[in-house]
Point group: C2
């Protein structure tokens, strides 16, 4: 979702779905969908609002909230309520995956694993729930950088160390994305 054609495709996918559900293709919605698609990580309403306002100075925050809400109900956007974060994050990746959150730098990393989908299916089977496949599971911990940064202080309890240091980064399903902290 980095290069221009991919961004354009994503924007069109969102807008087409909006129109098919009876919503109108307004200039504000186009701008909001574009800002969403261009954002590399897990944007907040504030992130998108700030970006859209550059081209659209009169836009209201409520419009961003409303558009996010609509996209969410269409299943195109997942809401991520992350413990201790001031703002709600959103995720355009609606495939089953894990969002891993660093407790210290608040970065969010995507991890795609086949087992997530089967875990959800088994959970649905055992409980009788209809479960959202799109849900991004959230796990909390300390990222490698913050582990090093805190290496001299006392080791926190109830954490699970990784078996090995990762030999390579940003490969496989790992989508490492540094987000500016919105405060």
């Amino acid at each position: 979702m980095r290069d221009n054609s991919a961004i354009h495709d994503t924007v069109e996918r969102l807008l087409t779905a909006l129109e098919e559900s009876g919503k109108r293709r307004t200039a504000q919605r186009v701008a909001i969908c574009r800002a969403l698609a261009e954002h590399p990580g897990h944007p907040t309403v504030g992130d998108v609002f700030t970006r859209v306002r550059r081209d659209f100075p009169m836009i209201s925050q409520a419009t961003v909230y409303n558009t996010f809400d609509t996209l969410q109900h269409l299943g195109l956007l997942t809401q991520l309520d992350i413990a201790d974060h001031d703002h709600t994050h959103y995720d355009l990746d609606i495939t089953p995956h894990i969002n891993i959150v660093c407790r210290y730098c608040e970065n969010i990393v995507d991890l795609h694993m086949d087992t997530v989908s089967s875990l959800i299916q088994e959970a649905a089977s055992r409980t009788g729930f209809e479960l959202q496949e799109q849900a991004g599971l959230i796990l909390y911990g300390a990222c490698p950088n913050c582990q090093r940064r805190r290496a001299t202080s006392t080791e926190g309890a109830n954490t699970l160390s990784s078996a090995r240091a990762p030999s390579r980064r940003n490969t496989m399903g790992i989508n490492s994305q540094t987000e500016a902290r919105n405060r």
Copy 2:
């Protein structure tokens, strides 16, 4: 965690940990820990505050917030930020499990599965994160009751139906906690 002796043990476990960390065993903290242990589900600050105030009319909400915060930092309490819920929930169950939330009635059900722990370990291994084992993963969906209640309306998209109807059902009252044990 239902009968009196189990509740008492839980309360003592919390208070002992508080004291070992240098905190005092005050009457307010005893009452708060008792209310936590007595609650069958995933209480909010308001739940505990309301309960404690019956025996302790002068208690302040801030005391509940502060005690929860302390217990959380000791790893004895997990914070559950559930999307679209007005209040933050808390969970005394610090074993790895899944919290399944109904989008319609807002009930929360616990599901313990062996695969959760291995999923977390694999995620840690792949990303280099130190991950909290205690984390309760959150999944969203529709509980069996609400599925039936909505059977006549349009089927929502992006849901995953369970393979079979659950063999045993539990009453889905407010704050009911279903314990689906892994065997």
